[in-house]
């Protein structure tokens, strides 16, 4: 009997666990260790952050699902990974008791999502700083409270400044921030308060609509449309000001300090701000048999797990080498260790990086979205099943082959709601396969605004929660 251990129960880890439980849960031991005993449907935290969805509608308990799927659940935070042959285990700390737990494994899936590195920008974040975040459920709830208090001020006649975007020169996840800013706009409009707020989009993207993926391009009626023009229209239409090519370096009460491409330094004032922090890998200790630190065999300096990607290529080389992106997410030093979702180390950025004259790199990190994380979770799970059954992996999927769909809703009404629907295929441009300057399939790629996007967003919320609960037909729903 093989022991498979999954760290983390988010889009990647939970998906991997469901496939493992479904395929081999009866014959082998599948265990998930997670520091939270609920699954969180992260995309809907945008609605939590404006008070449009109750937090409890975005989560459900993991244990009942795992009981049905022949998966053991351990409610603990993983701390140490001991990967050396003969003595392979993970040490964790049980939530509530603080008791140390040892979990032995034959196969390990590392999928704990990002460490939200608020410390990377002094003054950033809701715990020790002055800005808000929607990257965790407690943060989204805190953002909602602050936002609603701001609305109360506006109702009394105060004029306010709202800044939303990225809070670090190397931050990713611009899509979530974009969805939040347009939801705030729409909510204020509905409340009759829009004229009381000056709203600014502040981001490290090289251009509007870049989203860390070098923008999205589509072909419609024979004409190529690009996301920078499209998002510009959205912002102009909504009266949202914008400032891109800007890296936030420090935050003080009511003040955001930044540098831009030109190396200029500036300050932007705010009453309410939601800025996405830099993402790093979870700070696990990787310890060898002799007790030494063997992190360099497993993770890059940012803590992301090294896998089968081709690392070290320059941006121009990488952008012409789609096969540099990992296919099986297997660690080269330890073949029984895989990483899924945000946890794996990408070989480099997708968007064009830029370093200004003060040596500040203003460059969005590549996003590993929910869909991408789910697909990787499945690929990893199916390969572990292969290895256990036949000793040979048969599944692979690079980000340069994957599709990603993001729906940035504006309000949640099915009648007069609206949304920007973004589909890109592939996520990482493949200029070898798609012979256009963008390296994308311009027919499948999709960029559109309309009420149908709001329907799509609702549908995604309910179908994905259905899928993640492993209800009837869950495998038919794509990741």
């Amino acid at each position: 009997m093989a022991k498979v251990l999954v760290i983390g129960a988010g889009f990647a880890g939970h998906t991997a666990a469901l496939y493992l439980g479904n395929k081999i849960g009866r014959q082998h031991e599948i265990t998930v260790i997670s520091n939270r005993d609920v699954f969180g449907y992260v995309p809907s935290w945008v609605w939590v952050g404006v008070g449009h969805m109750k937090p409890e509608r975005t989560i459900f308990k993991l244990k009942p699902v795992y009981d049905r799927m022949n998966i053991k659940f351990v409610h603990a935070a993983a701390k140490e990974i001991h990967p050396d042959i003969g003595n392979q285990y993970v040490l964790g700390e049980e939530v509530g008791t603080g008791r140390e737990i040892r979990l032995d494994y034959d196969y390990l899936v590392i999928a704990p999502g990002p460490l939200l590195n608020f410390a990377g920008t002094p003054g950033l974040g809701p715990e020790n700083g002055y800005t808000h975040s929607i990257c965790s459920l407690p943060h989204a709830i805190k953002a909602r409270e602050a936002y609603l208090a701001l609305c109360d001020r506006m109702k009394k006649g105060d004029k306010v400044k709202i800044v939303i975007g990225t809070g670090h020169p190397g931050a990713t996840c611009q899509g979530a921030a974009f969805e939040y800013i347009v939801n705030v706009h729409k909510d204020l409009l509905k409340k009759g308060l829009r004229d009381k707020a000056d709203i600014l989009w502040l981001s490290n993207e090289p251009a509007l609509g870049d989203f860390g993926v070098n923008g999205v391009q589509i072909k419609r009626n024979g004409i190529v449309q690009k996301s920078d023009e499209f998002i510009k229209s959205v912002f102009n239409d909504h009266g949202i000001r914008y400032q891109v090519q800007t890296g936030v370096t420090k935050v003080e009460e009511g003040k955001i300090h930044w540098q831009n491409y030109e190396g200029e330094e500036g300050t932007t004032e705010f009453d309410f701000s939601m800025l996405i922090p830099q993402f790093k890998g979870q700070p696990f200790k990787y310890i060898g048999n002799d007790g030494s630190d063997i992190s360099s065999k497993l993770v890059n300096p940012a803590g992301f797990v090294l896998v089968d990607g081709k690392y070290g290529l320059s941006y121009p080389e990488l952008s012409q080498t789609p096969e540099a992106w990992p296919a099986q997410y297997q660690n080269p030093s330890y073949s029984n260790i895989f990483a899924a979702g945000i946890a794996f180390a990408p070989p480099g950025p997708i968007s064009k990086p830029f370093t200004n004259k003060n040596n500040v790199a203003i460059a969005p990190a590549p996003p590993r979205t929910g869909m991408v994380s789910g697909v990787i979770g499945r690929v990893v799970a199916m390969n572990i099943v292969d290895l256990i059954k036949t000793g040979r992996m048969t599944h692979s999927e690079r980000m340069s082959e994957m599709v990603a769909a993001c729906v940035a809703s504006m309000g949640d009404s099915l009648w007069d709601g609206n949304a920007v629907t973004i589909v890109m295929h592939p996520v990482v441009p493949d200029r070898k396969k798609y012979k256009n300057e963008f390296g994308r399939d311009l027919f499948i790629s999709h960029l559109e605004m309309g009420v149908s996007g709001a329907w799509m967003k609702f549908m995604l919320h309910y179908t994905f929660i259905w899928k993640f609960k492993a209800q009837l037909g869950w495998k038919l729903i794509p990741e």
Binding site: N236, Y242, S396, N418, V423, G450, S452, W455
Partner: protein, 42 residues
């Protein structure tokens, strides 16, 4: 400099015209589903 680029009246009409939006909803779902299902075979 911020350009004055905005959606035209016609574009805004189509964004809210429910029958057209139903069509776009179907197109979008077919597009995403067909490509995402191919991913399952990899």
């Amino acid at each position: 400099m911020q350009s004055e680029q905005e959606f035209s009246k016609a574009e805004k009409f189509w964004m809210n015209f429910k029958l057209y939006q139903l069509w776009r909803f179907i197109v979008l779902n077919i597009k995403v589903y067909t490509i995402a299902v191919q991913s399952k075979w990899r």
